[in-house]
Symmetry: C2
Subunit: 259 residues, 2 copies
């Protein structure tokens, strides 16, 4: 568990959660447990996705993957335990309002689940390998596989901050657009970055017959799509009328990153 959680990583979900919460004046100590839970869930999903039975990846966050170091059995259990610990963390810590705390658990369990969510996205991803995938289908996969947890990070920050329902809806759009931009940028990096920069093996998605935006649209159109999504995300965030500079910077960083 520690090996994979403390391997580094960009901590995007925790950062998004905290930034979104701070837009509405939430204190860091109310946000941190949720931020940690998101990173535990993200890390569990990476450990399980990297398993030989799934994507069979050997490099992640610049290190050998969990199962390469500790064996498959321990990697499966480390993932299980991180998912479990995430919910323990959410139940024991964070917002004083028990209603808010339960709502956060509800949002997180739903985003990590099967219906337009993390696990459902991974299932679609596996099932679509080697077959023709339309841009619409690819978007559906990403909205579930990576989008749901990114959107959730933005939402639970806002919920802990006490955002109104209309602000929550607006930030949800921000989270969706930014999440999709992140994934398009991921596909671009997969096609262009070095393994040293990336911390994982590039080109694997294409080699394993997975659909990517670069394969579907070509590099240039994929880049334009990522830029457009970032603009739409920023527009949505600004609609709250709050100071959303940090959220803007994060959305830009999603596509400007080198790893």
């Amino acid at each position: 568990m520690r090996y994979s959680v403390f391997a580094g990583g960009k901590r995007l979900r925790p950062i998004l959660c905290i930034a979104s919460g701070e837009v509405f004046g939430a204190q860091e100590d109310q946000l941190l447990p949720a931020a940690c839970a998101l990173e535990m869930i993200h890390t569990y999903s990476l450990i399980h996705d990297d398993l030989p039975a799934m994507d069979d990846d050997t490099l992640r966050r610049g290190r050998a993957t969990c199962h390469v170091v500790y064996g498959e059995a321990m990697a499966i259990l480390a993932g299980d335990a991180l998912l479990t610990r995430a919910f323990e963390t959410l139940a024991r810590n964070g917002p004083e309002s028990l209603e808010v705390r339960l709502r956060v658990i509800d949002e997180v369990s739903s985003a990590a689940g099967t219906m337009r969510a993390l696990i459902g996205g991974q299932v679609m991803d596996i099932e679509s390998q080697g077959s023709e995938v339309s841009e619409k289908k690819l978007e559906e996969i990403h909205r579930s596989k990576t989008g749901a947890l990114i959107r959730c990070a933005v939402r639970i920050g806002a919920i802990i901050g006490g955002a109104s329902e209309s602000h929550l809806q607006t930030l949800t759009v921000y989270g969706e657009k930014a999440g999709l931009a992140f994934q398009v940028a991921d596909d671009i990096l997969d096609a262009t970055a070095s393994p040293e920069d990336l911390g994982k093996t590039p080109g694997k998605d294409v080699a394993s017959g997975k659909a990517t935006y670069v394969k579907l649209l070509g590099l240039e159109r994929a880049s334009r799509k990522a830029e457009a999504l970032v603009s739409e995300a920023i527009d949505a965030a600004r609609q709250t009328g709050r100071d959303v500079q940090v959220l803007e910077g994060i959305a830009r960083m999603f596509v400007d990153r080198k790893s």
Copy 2:
């Protein structure tokens, strides 16, 4: 998920949760979500334990195991999704008191976790394979691997029923003793039952170098130990001064069962 959850099984954890809650007057609709969550978590742990990288079992609850039918990737994900769905179920349903609801999530996540709990027990079990295991160590493994969730089932029923702390402590002893009796009986069945009765392959634990009570104590002493534990469990339950006939019957059934 459906294949493994609806494969039958004894539903011991849900039954224990409901029986324990009803001792304190809880209504079934307050108990059922927790009962279902326990069964989802139990089933997820079976799916993952049966994987080739773990115990490599092909028969469970009288059917081919999940990974045999759906492949390893889907079995890992089905397990992940059941664990996730369990927490979603607990967050959305059950006791009206939000405090009780959060406490139940806390208890369940803790029992399903690493410290003297489900996953920790499985880790100890794997690590001890092929080496000499003392009775004390074997008990520690079982208290974690199966005992924690059984104890949790009894506890959360009582918590939902609004049991006092002293009644909760007493029922915790019941849960611990009955849980251990269940495991001793499991080892006896593993040595004596047919695969048809058992719904899984008997003798596998011994063959794979795992310690069992039968191997450590012999059949007769193991039987006496199971009986003694059941008596202690029943004594503890009676100390509540409530009508605990159902809990008594369950504890007896734990060791009298043929499968």
